[in-house]
Amino acid sequence: MAKERHYHSVLGVDIGQITTRSALFGISEGKYRLTGEGAAPTSLGYGQAVNVGIKDAILDLQAKSDGVFFKPGDQTIKPLSGVDRVVWTMSGGMRVRTVLLGVAAGGSIAAGRVLADSLPLEIVASFGLPGLADETDMVDRLINLHPSLVLIVGGEDGGAQAPIRTWVDIMRSVCLLLSEEVKPTVVYAGNPALHPYFRRRLEPVTKLSILPNLQPQTGLLDLVPVQRSLDREILKNWKKHIPGWVELDDPLEKVVSTTDYAWNRMVRYLSRTKEQSTRSSLETGVVALDIGGGVTRIAIGMQGNVGMVSRNVQLDQGLLQDEDFLQSVRQWTASSVSTDDVQQYLFNYWSNPAILPETQEELAISQAYARVRIKQAVEKVSAHYGWIPFDSVRGLLGLFEPIIASGAVLTQAPSASQTMLMILDGLQPRGVSTVVLDRHQILPMLGVIGGIEPLLPVQLLASDVFENLGTVIVPESDLEQDEIVLRVHVEPETGKEYSVDIAQGELRHLVVPAGMSVVLTLEPHPGTDIGFGGPGVEGRLTVTSGRLGVVIDARGRPLVLEAEDEFRLAQLQRWSLAIGG
């Protein structure tokens, strides 16, 4: 039997739209640990090569650690000395121009969009049955769209074949008419009965990838195999178009992934782990949020399913004249600003997503926009995945623990309490949860490393590599404002025990030194639900305190902002002060 090989050091690199991050994982006291990290501006775009930013990020890591990865005079990234393996994740590449072809707008086309929103794909057009009415026109339209990828979906297992056959014929004509170098790759994820037809008609004329059916039955989405294959297609496209990418190639092709796919994979793993450890009939899961300079990403994992959306911030540019959107950002801005101020800041931000908010007003707008981004992402992911417990008025239902937060807007906020409030206000979680920060964008790297060294992510997740921001308790109650909804009895590891009463509408911060273990006994009012099985159900839990100790959010769900500016500002400032400013 072959001896299992373990790597002693693995270097991870995540290439974001603004920042390229590096992280070194090594073995210390018999376990994998994060032993160093670095960062540098991403070098992508006209006239730049991606390997320059990567090298700078690794050099930054080198400067901060004992490792020497480059010898003087090294011109290329690889081979790196001092590391056994290097893994890469990337979200900075241009979204791949994709045309979606299917049957019904609410069926296969909608399923295709769910898939596309979970990966760095740009759907430039989508066509269903009406598109088949004029084949001649459709062929010309597809030629003029010059997509890199054509995704054909539709047809349940054993279902009707005629519309998809017509799409195949249309795509065959398109590919026959286009020259070799600009033929799109065709990816089919539909009724398997048509696989032979696809092979016979399209394989001779273009690159064809046949995947398992995305929607084998109505309402049943099977995204994972399709996501995995599309991840490879996207990487192939980037390889062709991104200068400097060629150096990242690895013959094993298991060490490069889109950040979206790697992130998705880790959330799936975490949700499976959670499923095994939860013996409850309650709807529980994990949430990962990435509010970066260039991308908004959310993944919700429950029982091994993952719902995910990833969206470029620049796509919000179309909202600059949307009064409702601007008002929603302004409403969450904890500073006296006008809609014009919001427009001006967002315009500058979307034009230069790397900028930092300099004034209190800019910081307040930037953090208000983060709340709106989270809220939009929750709404979109819930609309895409019907199994996510969500109500359009009450927001995200179900219990999610942990909540993993990453992205510069959250991890580089001036204070931990600001980060916590952005998450609480945007996500509006329920029950009891722990908020952890992924400061170094390690989650996607672990998603890739898991494929070559499964032990590493397991041990990293059990370490303190993710910063514990705090435990959150959300009592939900129909009681009147200021009535007591919850009593919390606190037994710290050391020091005196005490109890606190929490009133309806209150946001409270219990200071417990970070790292200290504390036993909490939660005694809700009979009309209050703390996520332990229904209103009035008590509970006792031991938590390890994070930076912000324990935060109790009794403000109600959904959060309601005061209508008048004066009172709203006071309300936002009161909430901010309540958990440390």
């Binding site: 739209q17 501006p41 992508l44 775009g45 006209y46 006239g47 730049q48 900075g92 241009m94 084949e135 001649t136 062929v139 010309d140 030629i143 003029n144 010059h146 014929d169 065959r172 004509s173 026959l176 008419l177 286009l178 020259s179 170098e181 600009v182 008609r201 260039g294 620049q314 600059l320 004249q321 014009d340 427009q343 001006q344 800041y345 315009f347 500058n348 931000y349 979307w350 034009s351 230069n352 997503p353 790397a354 900028i355 930092l356 908010p357 300099e358 004034t359 209190q360 800019e362 910081l363 580089q412 001036p414 204070s415």
Partner: protein, 351 residues
Amino acid sequence: MVAKVLGMSAMINIRRARRLPIPGNVLVHKGQSINPEDEIAEANVPGKIFKLDLARGLALPEDEVGSCLVRKVGEDLEAGDIVAQIEGTFPRLVRTPVSGQLVDYHDGQAVLATGMNRIVLQAEMIGEVEEVIPEYGVVVHCLGSLIQGVWGNGKIGFGELHADSELIAKPLELDDVDLAEPGQILAAGACFDPSSLARLSEKGISGLILGVLAPQLLPDVLALPFPVVLLQGVGGFQPDPKRFELMTALSGKTAFVNADQGEVFGNKHPEVIIPLDEGDTLVEEKLQDEIAVGQQVMMLSGAAVGCSGEVLELPEKPVKFKTGLISQSAVIRLSAEETITIPIQNLIILR
């Protein structure tokens, strides 16, 4: 630390690659002078397909039609040409009712491409063809002044530059618009008034270069038929005459405006190019550069957004700002009386 560069040069070698999305024919040659509206390359992709049901025409099962084909895939056919036929006692044949190229035959059907999808690449640039990229396009070279902005409405145009220092120092008013001539590229400090934009459109100007624009006017500007470039940004702040200095000196010359800003992460900026025959200092264009003391920079955020100034100092240690954010920073002299400290991420080099 490295920062992006926004072009602001009196004399610079400007090179722009123009490429077709698919291979075709380049219509210009090396050394040829070109103007923005010139067609420099084209691709003709066969299209307008026509399906001919041969199985039905011959009254044969689909799998028997292949042996009856009398023309080959790839052949050009004229209307009336026989495509397939059965000889014998009772011969049958199918003629094509349209001219075109036989591009495919399958399952009893012939597919003809009866027309072309013509994709044309315009120069969208003024200058001389420096290099031909076979089948795809060209690299155009131009010597002259380059002034890049932070936003553009996606249009292109060219005309005589009208850059008057009075217009640059203040927001555009209706009376100012009346002075503009059709075909001109007008430079103005700011625009906060939608009626001025409407009047400019009526006057038939060829382009507008603004320092500042009121945010609510962005939809109006996007709808204008001529290019608009913003040098400073949107908001209610003051125009910065320093951003217009090059233009006032060159007022009356021909200016080319390309207000296409490309992708946010694509390193492209909307720009004004003023071709010149000669000049004092010739520099090479850079997309990014190391921040250095003495450089001219523009602020992208904060209280001084849109203002330009000079880098006075680059503190070694990160600076904590009022907001609590900690960042590498630069000390900038905005004027003789005013200096500010701002995060380096919030700067763009003017060069």
